[in-house]
Amino acid sequence: MAAKKKPGFEQQLEKLEELVEGLENGDLALEEGVERYREGVDLLKSLNQTLADAEHKVEELTATLRAELKELEQNGDDLDLD
């Protein structure tokens, strides 16, 4: 549902890295630097969101997984009774 053509987390991260490097080199014009900063902030926001979403999803999945494992363990306990 989420991202079809949206660049992935790593791609965005690389873009952010490039951006930071560009800013560190200092050859940028002031206005360009500010624009890059804005892009960087947007990227970071987007990355943060992506990460939070991923974490949320992972948490949900982990909850499901735990439940499944618990169920399995109960079965496993039955096993141990033998």
Binding site: F9, L13, L16, E17, V20, L23, E24, G26, L28, L30, G33, Y37, G40, V41, L44, L47, N48, L51, A54, E55, V58, L61, T62, L65, R66, E68, L69, L72, E73, N75, G76, D78, L79, L81, D82
Partner: protein, 449 residues
């Protein structure tokens, strides 16, 4: 032993070889050579290379590796051992150090004999064996995990209870279809044949042919040729579990696999499922461990890039510094000095201008004053004075030459009235002539008498 010296705390530390060696010596001293009653299991005959026999010995609940060295076998065996054969053996434990495996090494082998039925059993067995009915190539592969199994067993039998107990006790998705059949006595064979047919008709993954233990007579139906052939011919894999571990039936040989007991057979089916569950649990745990890792790396990577604020601050600071440098050099160029210089030059010109014009005026004045003074001194007043003096002298001389001076001495000047010239002859003045007499002071008018 020398290990002890390296362990000052008193801990005894062994290496693997040492431990195994210790085990071997304990086994040797504590157990030594013993007699064991057991059933041969997984017997494969002489090893192709060495001629030694490697197999297993077991009872209902346990099994162990056994080795019959070639030399011992040659001496102790009249014929090759076979699976299921009950034997009385003597031997002792040995540990194969390279693998750490425990083996029972035999030095004596004695067969535990069979009865009358055994004779028939052996004949039939030999016959069917000759036909190749028991050939391993004929055997169907038992599926790794069985989903559907048809259990053919006696109604309310211990075997059924045992099997179902296993299925119920352990988690598994196996669908068990039970086909009760008569398993001994009259009509047992046809019923079993019918059961086989029915079972095969629904194409389960496996058929489990099972019966509890009993005497050879009790179990004899499973040695009947018709059933044995039907078992061998069945297209569905069959596991045979007839009697106890010591009890062999020909069905066992004809089946695709033999289980020593119904319980063992059921476990054989359930075990992969249990293993599967364990596998799932392990994988599940590994999976859940990955979960944290997944976002953790992403997060740390993101955090690593999060110094954007600092980077931007440095960026701005540099820009600002350059601006400030520019500004300082500009403010150092304040035009006040320039203006002051120009003002000074202007003031100088101004002073010179004023001094110049005043000098010019002064010069004019000085020249004019000089001429004025010259004019004043060249005034004609002196000349006038001189003329005055000259004139007064001339005036004196004139007075001196004044003919009227005679009158002062008493002379008088007489003129005939109305005539010019003085009267020098009286004749010129007859009587009655009016004459004018001028004296030194005053005039007289008279008439000649």
């Amino acid at each position: 032993m020398s290990d002890r010296e390296r362990a000052p705390e008193g801990r005894r530390i062994l290496n693997v070889s040492g431990l195994l060696e210790a085990g071997r010596s304990v086994l040797e001293s504590e157990i030594g050579p013993v007699w064991v009653e057991a059933e041969v299991f997984e017997y494969r005959g002489p090893h192709r290379g060495s001629g030694h026999r490697y197999f297993k010995l077991r009872d209902d609940n346990a099994s162990m590796s056994a080795i019959l060295w070639r030399g011992v076998a040659d001496r102790a065996l009249s014929s090759e051992l076979r699976d299921g054969q009950k034997v009385l053996v003597r031997g002792s434990f040995d540990i194969y150090a390279a693998r750490g495996t425990l083996s029972f090494v035999l030095d004596r082998v004695e067969d535990r004999g069979t009865g009358n039925l055994a004779q028939r059993f052996e004949e039939m067995k030999r016959k069917l064996q000759m036909e190749g009915l028991f050939d391993p190539e004929r055997k169907l592969v038992i599926p790794e995990r069985v989903h559907q199994v048809v259990l053919i067993t006696g109604a309310d039998s211990a075997a059924e209870a045992d099997v179902l107990h296993v299925f119920q006790k352990q988690p598994n998705p196996v669908h068990v279809l039970v086909r009760h059949a008569r398993v001994q006595g009259e009509g047992a064979v046809p019923d079993l044949l019918a059961a086989l047919k029915e079972a095969a008709s629904i194409s389960p993954d496996l058929i489990l042919l099972s019966r509890g233990g009993g005497s050879m007579e009790d179990l004899w139906a499973f040695n009947e040729e018709a059933l044995v052939r039907a078992v061998a011919a069945c297209e569905i894999p069959i596991i045979s579990a007839v009697g106890h571990e010591v009890d062999f039936s020909l069905c066992d040989f004809a089946a695709d696999e033999r289980a020593i007991t119904p319980t063992a057979a059921a476990q054989r089916i359930v075990a992969p499922w249990v293993e599967g569950i364990e596998q799932i649990q392990v994988l599940g745990k590994r999976l859940s461990r990955c979960a944290g890792q997944l976002t953790l790396e992403a997060r740390s990577a993101l955090r690593h890039q999060a110094d954007l604020v600092g980077v931007m601050r440095r960026f701005l600071r540099e820009k600002k510094a350059r601006f400030e440098r520019g500004m300082q050099s500009f403010t150092a160029q304040h035009p006040a000095q320039r203006l002051e210089r120009q003002a000074l030059r202007l003031r100088h010109a101004e002073q010179r201008l004023m001094a110049g014009v005043e000098g010019r005026l002064h010069m004019g004045r000085v020249r004019l004053q000089r001429q004025a003074r010259g004019l004043a001194s060249a005034s004609p007043k002196t000349a006038i004075g001189l003329h005055k003096a000259g004139l007064s002298k001339a005036s004196a001389r004139l007075n001196a030459g004044n003919p009227e001076g005679l009158l002062n001495r008493g002379y008088a000047l007489v003129k005939v009235e109305g005539q010019d010239g003085f009267l020098r002859d009286s004749k010129a003045a007859p009587e009655g002539t009016a004459i004018h007499i001028q004296l030194a002071k005053g005039d007289l008018r008279a008439r000649v008498e």
